[in-house]
Symmetry: D3
Subunit: 313 residues, 6 copies
Amino acid sequence: MKKYVPINSYETARFCEVRTFCRLPYEKKTEGVDFAVIGIPFDGGCGFQTGSRLGPASIRNMSGLLRGSDIYLGVNQFEYVTGVDYGDVPVVPFSIESTYKKVEDTLTPIVKNGVIPICMGGDHSITLPELRALAKVHGPLALVQFDSHLDVSDAYLGEKYNHGSMFLRGVEEGIIDTEHSIQVGIRAIYGVEDIKDSERLGYKVITADEAIELGPEKLGQIIKERVGNQKAFLTFDIDFVDPAYAPGTGTIEIGGYTSRDALIAVRQLHEINFVGFDLVEVLPALDPANITAYLAAKIMSEFISNIVYKKMK
Amino acid sequence: MKKYVPINSYETARFCEVRTFCRLPYEKKTEGVDFAVIGIPFDGGCGFQTGSRLGPASIRNMSGLLRGSDIYLGVNQFEYVTGVDYGDVPVVPFSIESTYKKVEDTLTPIVKNGVIPICMGGDHSITLPELRALAKVHGPLALVQFDSHLDVSDAYLGEKYNHGSMFLRGVEEGIIDTEHSIQVGIRAIYGVEDIKDSERLGYKVITADEAIELGPEKLGQIIKERVGNQKAFLTFDIDFVDPAYAPGTGTIEIGGYTSRDALIAVRQLHEINFVGFDLVEVLPALDPANITAYLAAKIMSEFISNIVYKKMK
Amino acid sequence: MKKYVPINSYETARFCEVRTFCRLPYEKKTEGVDFAVIGIPFDGGCGFQTGSRLGPASIRNMSGLLRGSDIYLGVNQFEYVTGVDYGDVPVVPFSIESTYKKVEDTLTPIVKNGVIPICMGGDHSITLPELRALAKVHGPLALVQFDSHLDVSDAYLGEKYNHGSMFLRGVEEGIIDTEHSIQVGIRAIYGVEDIKDSERLGYKVITADEAIELGPEKLGQIIKERVGNQKAFLTFDIDFVDPAYAPGTGTIEIGGYTSRDALIAVRQLHEINFVGFDLVEVLPALDPANITAYLAAKIMSEFISNIVYKKMK
Amino acid sequence: MKKYVPINSYETARFCEVRTFCRLPYEKKTEGVDFAVIGIPFDGGCGFQTGSRLGPASIRNMSGLLRGSDIYLGVNQFEYVTGVDYGDVPVVPFSIESTYKKVEDTLTPIVKNGVIPICMGGDHSITLPELRALAKVHGPLALVQFDSHLDVSDAYLGEKYNHGSMFLRGVEEGIIDTEHSIQVGIRAIYGVEDIKDSERLGYKVITADEAIELGPEKLGQIIKERVGNQKAFLTFDIDFVDPAYAPGTGTIEIGGYTSRDALIAVRQLHEINFVGFDLVEVLPALDPANITAYLAAKIMSEFISNIVYKKMK
Amino acid sequence: MKKYVPINSYETARFCEVRTFCRLPYEKKTEGVDFAVIGIPFDGGCGFQTGSRLGPASIRNMSGLLRGSDIYLGVNQFEYVTGVDYGDVPVVPFSIESTYKKVEDTLTPIVKNGVIPICMGGDHSITLPELRALAKVHGPLALVQFDSHLDVSDAYLGEKYNHGSMFLRGVEEGIIDTEHSIQVGIRAIYGVEDIKDSERLGYKVITADEAIELGPEKLGQIIKERVGNQKAFLTFDIDFVDPAYAPGTGTIEIGGYTSRDALIAVRQLHEINFVGFDLVEVLPALDPANITAYLAAKIMSEFISNIVYKKMK
Amino acid sequence: MKKYVPINSYETARFCEVRTFCRLPYEKKTEGVDFAVIGIPFDGGCGFQTGSRLGPASIRNMSGLLRGSDIYLGVNQFEYVTGVDYGDVPVVPFSIESTYKKVEDTLTPIVKNGVIPICMGGDHSITLPELRALAKVHGPLALVQFDSHLDVSDAYLGEKYNHGSMFLRGVEEGIIDTEHSIQVGIRAIYGVEDIKDSERLGYKVITADEAIELGPEKLGQIIKERVGNQKAFLTFDIDFVDPAYAPGTGTIEIGGYTSRDALIAVRQLHEINFVGFDLVEVLPALDPANITAYLAAKIMSEFISNIVYKKMK
């Protein structure tokens, strides 16, 4: 039996065992694996409802339902890839700066090992130090952002670092290549000028209305064209999805994709050269039936298929 | 800084301060404002699950997420209009008649002042005294009703006043101009003859199936044509929306609009001359992720854009 | 007043009285009725989240909202049919085999009486003994299965009987006529070969993606053609529906029908000669706003219209 | 097997069957029974959090755990008494006066038959019409009230009838014999003069602090002495009990009895000649673990032991 | 009618109106009042479950049940004192240091005005800047701390400021007079040496076991003796109380006082010269029946009686 | 740093990392450890509310709050003992017999290694195969049972194995030495003869009333005297504790110990020679604030102190 693959659910029931992502081994090492799932349970960057620090635990719980089969690729994922649940970054809930350092320090050796990090938030503020770690190895990255918010505010409540400013900071730090970057699903706008602010930074912006009009296949096509051959990072804020499908998040916004269309959209991106991924803003206290946590797990699994796709070739 | 506008969310976080609608000032006066938001926390008219008396509190909580920007009009709302949270009508939970008097007494001076009331239920029974107050000033009104129920029953459980009879009572009282009125989204029918009963009263009825077939833009067009230049009242029962998008209400019915389409439909009505509005039947005990309360706030905000639209001209 | 019809909700409020399905009489006899609603509160066959033993109680609670009118047929159902709430099968939570015997023993005399059983789960494992009871009278049945899972596993965790194996067992037992059977909505696949396994057994399989592509009317047409004039059984696993619309179930899967489309699909099947029905896998602990339980009641009511349709002719 | 006794839980699991109180037969007749359990799902008299109309359904659900054995009397209850679940009074949620009439009309023939009514609220306002029905047969009754509130307000929010005024109204109507009546557990006082107001009406008042100081046995003794040989009515507002033990009620108050002491106190009252009983103010939406509903069922069962005790002699 | 007193609940129902503490006026000024209630919705200092930023909103909601009568003093509080709900400190969720500054800046003028601040957390970290503001006017304060934790850790996760370190920091800053300070209810100990650490700082420590042994009256006596005539600050961490009585908090610990005994203990302290107060760590997401929020409101009301007591003299 | 001890919570926050019991290493080996924590997530033996299969996950979540310090022994536990979280037994939810075999097979080598198993249910039925595994090595064991139920029924619903029969079966199998066994906290009696049935088997029975009368210290003394020097097993059904303190369990019963007294009682038993332990019947769906899960973790920690005590000597 191959190492670093999920527990066999025909032998051990899905509700058994210590909860790791997709029932993968819990290991603090990454030799010989393709990807590492890493929890970043930090919610000190959020500006409305808090509690996403429990997001990784809830995603792990529900990820027991994942099956490792991809009917679109026609393969069982773990015949092509291996992975571990690396556990969590030891975040510092009292300090976003200290947390940023811990995230960067944890990810750097993993990225240097050639392992793809699949991170689970936590609030969206955690993406910045992920990008820092990745850019050290890969240089500036194309950003593919599924989100209802732009997150390019300068100072919010007088502070530079929070879950609404990362994609301005990343530009300032030179770690985002905005020319190949795209923000999709945008609909929670603070002022009518906000989209133009983002475009001035170089981002391409597709609003939720536009994305719905396009449908997930064409949206995927546009994203692929935007990114081209650049090394890229996929950041998926669960509030991209409509609240009916993803109620468990802190700053919901009406009018997003269905969860099915979100999965279809991500599925279009197999050819993009992603070097990292995160799924953020799952807030279990607002997710009584766990449908948001399971959706998060499915999107993560869809990203794993992205890695599988490349290994199949 | 202009008075009677929301607290600045860049200075004071959205979860701070005493909860008023859209972070507007809490004032028991209406001089110099365009609209007044008024809670009517009465649920003594409801025939199934109760608890909508806590609706206004929950909508106020979630309305902290509203941003005051309208990307469709391309303006920030509060550059054009002002408003207050007037607080609640001192309803009498033990008596629908006493409550009706309180509602009418509270609204009458506001309406006379030329201020548009934006009411939050409570159950749907509260619309009748609102109409009474408005009709005293404006005469019989065209009714635009988004709802899954017709609410034209005569006596229910032997009583004339309840949340299923207002739009018969309003006709009997001569305060609804049914020739320019329309009921849309209807799907919870008690007997197969019910729609004809409503049509006999003069209402135009559009079932949920028809409304979905039409789509929100055409639905909006039909409503506008029906109302014409009449002074009108917009009553939005949150159960118009499908339970997946609005679970938090007492008498759900399968097969409604998505929340996005509901917002689009309301957005079509800018040219209608609305003199009043209410949003009813939000029931927080059935709304664990607060998505229904936030949707209610969004619909109310969309109605504010209706006022904005007129001021822009 | 006709016997075996619901309590009149104009006289007794919907939240009053001991909870029976659709407010029908609670009777342990079936003389003179067209159908009997039977709870089968067993959840000992489920492999992930448990608690569907409380499904029947929750469906009964919410079924008070049913109105007995069918606007599509244009009739009030109980002018054509009668029914009882027969109560529950005395299941044995500690033993699936003992429970199977209880189900079969309870249903057999009802079926022999010519009464159509409308069963409420409990988990999906209960369908097997229902089919056994029906097949004794009617012979092998065409199976119409709405589900996100195939449920044709052989042994799961080493056991033959569970909520993932019934439709293999039924074939082995010769009580399912797979040539006229169809599985629709399939999307939670354990291995990429699974669908072929089901097809080898003779089932026609329509995946969720295909079903969404087709739309509910064409899906209904395909089902009708598949079944033809065979006596048939309709089994509806609530996880066929997307989790946004039916969160309250134990093994959710993203990407199903909306609840409205599910109702439309069932409505197409009036001409099929169904001799039995069940609705399974409602799990109240994951259904905080009761929208899943109410959807279940609506689907059951739609099935009652199937019986009504035949009586109208 | 004796009629009108609970379903045998060794043969039919506790979670099976349509939910009746204590698994008793659901019958709208009272010939040959000692007591009838009657739901009164009215919450239109409550002044804070609403939803107690679902109290009877929740108590019925949890009462499946009752076992019919009384280890203090050393007997199995249903070897001595019989009873039915009579279902609910068809209350009118829109009108307290109409509801009062329905309660009185429903109870009167039951009481005339010599059957003891055991009522489940709903809010406390329902006790007044119960007393009216009983007083017609038995004359003015001694009231034994377990409660954190006095409920002797005159008009509240301008209305005479509500859940805070019944025990003034009952005195005015001459149906309460205050000389033999007692209010115990009082602690939620609106003004410091309130207790004296109650005493002026003739009630003996024991505050929660006094009751805790006394302990349940001595409290029982005092109650017995107060009532003497008078025909009496026991009204138990679940908010008598501390919120830790009974969170599911609309107007909690800190500092009550534990649930165990409450049961001990009721158990002391076997010699009192109770002709009726009610248990009120259970609010399921605030009772997530159902401990309040089960406590209510236990207190009702303890009252049944009161009837048993007399039959044993 | 006196200004700055609660809305009359005989005229306006308790569930009506915008939620302020105890239905007091919402005013950002403190002239002519005895106390100001101030929310400090910061939870960025907490080390386990987060969400106490919503504490003030929940306490305000439930405080509508407060009645302003004190049966122990025999007076109605608002015949002696006045107060306002000052709203919230504009905390900065992303930075504990920035928040500390906001708290200090907000409180300083209030304290200078001679108004007693009654603060609602938020997590316990907020007490430090409250003490800073108070010490500027009053000098070092005696601390009376009800808590299950000592909160004298040095660095936690490498950070100086968090909800476990304030009472070490306060000593270091010279704003706590430990010789007259006392920590009561301690039971969640990280290492067996911790209590000695606290004692070395000068605190008197009473464990939960000792406090239960003593009972609330004697505990109160000991506290009074410890504090003497010093100006003092009362900080009440709701986790002092046992989880059965106060489940809604982030770091529960078994084995605390009942809520009734907690109220009795606070009631003993009337003679202490308190110049400020806070109630912290209420976490609404873990408080489904709101009993913790109401307990918090009651403790705050008990503190108001402390002010009343002095005015009565 | 010693192996097999918890993660240091001063370095890694308590809400970080994959959830293991008490933050111990997750290892499927037991060389060099004193105890192994083992989840047994089986709930197929329960007769009322189900869902305890999620008990181990919930206990692991909350056990992050444990601190490893024992202020009564005056030591930090992990200076004396080591342990692992062994993960879960691969239970078979569809078959109690198959599950029994898995439990026995999993525990046998652990017990043979001289490692003490600390098991987490799951429902109480799992204790029987634990005893089987232990008796193979240790011979018949003295049983110390904290419970509200006797669990000595013969057949329930016609089945021999379920959560109400283990302690009759264990006697029949000769693996319980009833002469040194004791059942404490009993109060949920099915028939008045039940206690005598248990005594006839040789058990000593102490009812909840007797246990409360005795208090935890004397109760502990009696237990110690009963067991003497026999090798013993401690089984703790969380429903021993009163529902106010432990709401999250499937068959609550009013009138148990407080959680504090439960801990004190267990603490008295240090001198008993326990060779195994389990904590059963935690049901997270009924435990919204997780206080039951945390209590379970505390009781388990108290049992660890029992092991510590012996190592200290």
